[in-house]
Amino acid sequence: MFSFRGNFIRRLLNLIPLLLLLFLAFSETDFDFDKLSFLSFNLIYILIFYWVLKNPDILGYGFIFLAGIVNDVVVGLPIGVSSITYLLLSGFAAYIRYLTVQPSLIFDWIVFAPSIAVTNSIYFYILTIFFDVKINYITLALNTCVTILFYPIIGILFSFLANIIIKERNV
């Protein structure tokens, strides 16, 4: 009985990042503030980068791909753009994960900046060159910068969850 409960809690904790990813992709919940629009940021990017760096099995590339498709349909973009962006960001995270011997939030933050800059540039070019969708690049650049700035704050929150997951796993 005790072991069943422990297993259930462990599985539930493991599922939180994935559920959050799917919830953010499906729902209208956006970190896009009405009066402080310049403070809007993309939590999905932070979530993907952080958890792929920690452990790619927690989110799963298949679900990241699916979240991208859902996001494209909800936002109204050509299907596949967000998937490519998310998977490229996962690729950067997986590459850094392979190279890093001793992970630290500050180092992750530093590499997050060029990773998101490259992926958002690809996102912008795919939309403008291949699909002729106009995007305000200043808003996109601002969003990228704010997402970078928010990474350590969200990263600290996620590390609490990561610690709980590790603790539960060790139990």
Partner: protein
């Protein structure tokens, strides 16, 4: 040097091809799948459109359900804030009501005069279009794209290009139709271009969205003289929309003359879709 290059290629290979313990697909396989999906977007076949439409309908409905908690909690904070502002607004409303009463007398005179003139020019059927009311299912407030999803699709007779009104005001047009849902591109979106008429000068122009709460006017005549307070209507050029649907007013925004919309595009809930064809009967 050779070693570092080897390290790099091993790391890249590992990141792209290695599958985790619980992973079923490698990153590279999924990136290729995304590229294939993207290239399918440009193919317009009946079966593909049907699949796309079905996927979109399912995702929109799921999105509507998952948005419920956010939609309930968000307005709660707004309501609390709103209560504090009520008295201030009440005083303003009282003042405005008085002004409106004064204006009403003037308007009733103008209305009678207008009706008389309409009879003279035999154009009383300017606004005789048929509309259906629809609910906004999902309003994903993306900072880059401005669009909403409606709970009606081609099963209700909606078609691509149909104009959308909130009350009497023009707010956008349908850009995508599925069986049970459709997407509306709002006039504030960067990709929106609407032929308009600026009154009382009668200037024809193209109104372009800016991604913000105002729009720009392009292709105005040379030596035009816009003024604050000029009204902007749909011109009906091209036969896509009915002419004379009010859109907004010219205002001085960021020291430039821009179109301020009559409708608050962030507060769309029940909207009307004009289903009549403006070219019918011409």
């Amino acid at each position: 040097m050779v070693t570092s290059r080897d390290d790099f290629s091993i790391a890249v290979r590992s990141a792209l091809l290695k599958k985790g313990v619980k992973q079923k697909f490698s990153l590279l396989a999924l990136i290729i799948a995304s590229v294939i999906l993207l290239s399918l977007e440009s193919i317009n076949s009946k079966s593909l459109n049907f699949v796309r439409s079905a996927i979109k309908d399912v995702i929109y409905r799921t999105s509507f359900i998952t948005s419920i908690p956010g939609n309930v909690i968000g307005p709660m904070f707004t309501n609390i804030q709103g209560h504090f502002e009520i008295y201030e607004q009440y005083e303003m409303v009282k003042l405005k009501l008085q002004q409106l009463k004064d204006q009403q007398n003037q308007i009733s005179y103008l209305k009678i005069e207008n009706d008389k003139l309409k009879k003279v020019i035999d154009d009383a059927s300017v606004f005789s279009y048929e509309t259906i009311t629809s609910k906004v299912l999902v309003d994903k407030e993306s900072p880059f794209l401005k669009s909403v999803i409606l709970n009606k699709g081609f099963n209700s007779g909606l078609k691509k290009g149909m104009p959308i009104l909130k009350g009497p005001y023009f707010v956008g047009r349908i850009t995508e139709v599925n069986y049970l849902s459709s997407r509306v591109l709002l006039i504030s979106d960067l990709n929106s271009k609407i032929p308009v008429l600026v009154e009382p000068m009668g200037y024809q122009a193209i109104m372009s969205g800016t991604g913000d709460e105002f729009a720009l006017l392009d292709f105005l005549p040379k030596n035009h003289q816009l003024e604050v307070g000029n009204l902007v209507y749909t011109s009906g050029t091209g036969g896509i929309f009915f002419s004379g649907i009010p859109i907004g007013r010219i205002e001085l925004i960021e020291e430039k003359l821009r179109v301020k919309f009559f409708s608050d595009l962030n507060q769309l809930y029940l909207i009307n879709v004009i289903i009549s064809d403006p070219m019918k009967g011409r």
